[in-house]
């Protein structure tokens, strides 16, 4: 099975066979499958294992005293739910399965050892934590400054790219188990408002949603609607047009200056009918 953690982390740096093997070893620990709606880790819990999402979709959320729930982040395959808990005393929010979700339970000590050594893997794990924070910042902007249409479009664009990175899309279709109610918890809008926005995006020929499968019909236009900038996802090697990884989301992610040069060279090459380097 493809290792979604490796697929994610290699956006930051390339790994040699030994490093790949170490990342694969992390997947050899016991797995646990959670049903839709089941709590993976509860607020206040002190866990001994780090949960890495292998399949499915999970959410970070907080439940207010009046029972209202706010979703702050979505976790797709390759995402670590709780890498920070061996530093902190306990979780300050809940992690819940949004659909049938399987996690591998990596002993905290193993991750702690990885994080305290000084290797490429350590840096890559830091990169993953930092991109999680960057995503959270983007969601704050979503809530504070984007209108309803932009906000719903933004979540769909983000999931499309994040699923593409870990190879979980087929022709821009991906699993979308979120109900109107859950989308409303993630956007701060109400369900009818969310439904209106989804239907507008559908009527505009941008998306199709049927049987819990989202298909983005026109990713470029949807990104325009969402005012989506991919920079916060820090897909460094895709931006640099590194062949090994850029095929997955490169058409949606703008090139860095290094990538621009690469794109220009490729254009010249193809103009002269030369095969790709």
């Amino acid at each position: 099975m493809a290792n979604p953690l490796t697929m994610r982390l290699e956006q930051f740096t390339s790994f040699d066979p030994d490093e790949r093997q170490r990342l694969d070893q992390l997947l050899s620990y016991p797995t646990k499958t959670y049903a839709r709606g089941e709590t993976i880790i509860a607020e206040g819990e002190k866990v001994d294992n780090i949960h890495l999402v292998l399949t499915g979709l999970a959410a970070r959320s907080k439940t207010l005293r009046n029972g209202e729930r706010q979703i702050m982040a979505l976790l797709v395959p390759g995402d670590l739910c709780d890498i920070e808990v061996f530093v902190l005393e306990g979780m300050d929010h809940d992690i819940t399965a949004m659909t049938g979700t399987t996690c591998v339970l990596i002993p905290a000590k193993v991750i702690e050892a990885l994080l305290t050594e000084s290797s490429k893997l350590t840096k890559a794990l830091w990169w993953s934590t930092m991109t999680d924070s960057a995503t959270l910042r983007e969601w704050i902007v979503d809530h504070g400054s984007r209108d309803a249409r932009e906000q719903v479009a933004h979540i769909i664009c983000e999931l499309l790219i994040r699923y593409r990175i870990v190879g979980e899309t087929t022709d821009d279709s991906f699993s979308f188990p979120l109900s109107q109610e859950e989308l409303s918890e993630a956007t701060g809008m109400t369900p009818v408002h969310v439904n209106r926005m989804l239907q507008q995006l559908r009527a505009d020929g941008l998306i199709e949603l049927s049987g819990k499968v989202m298909t983005v019909l026109d990713p470029k236009r949807l990104m325009e609607v969402a005012c989506f900038e991919t920079n916060y996802l820090h897909l460094i090697r895709t931006e640099r047009r590194d062949k090994e990884v850029s095929g997955r989301a490169g058409d949606l992610v703008g090139p860095s200056s290094h990538g621009l040069v690469h794109d220009a060279v490729e254009r010249v090459r193809s103009a002269f009918g030369e095969p790709e380097a």
């Binding site: 209108d147 309803a148 109900s179 109107q180 109610e181 809008m189 109400t190 369900p191 009818v192 408002h193 439904n195 209106r196 239907q199």
Partner: protein
Amino acid sequence: MPRFYFHLEMCGRVYPDEEGRSFPDLEHARASAVLDARDLMAGEVKAGRLCFACRIDIADEQGAVVLTLPFREAVELSGLVELRDRDAQRGCIEFGR
């Protein structure tokens, strides 16, 4: 718990609800629709407009509309009479010159 479907009619366009949500009874479903209407109106007000003719039709599992909530019923309005009087007064002063 029975499932209710919240079909929205907003400024001439219908947004049918194919998913629905579960509530203990119609009263709870209505309370939720009130929040929906307020949220939708808030979005409109931020864009500089407001229409009271829009409505949410709540349908039951058989598809029958069991309650209609016009947006007008989701908010308490005040100040309209004062506004009308003030405008009228202004009009008098202007025309009185």
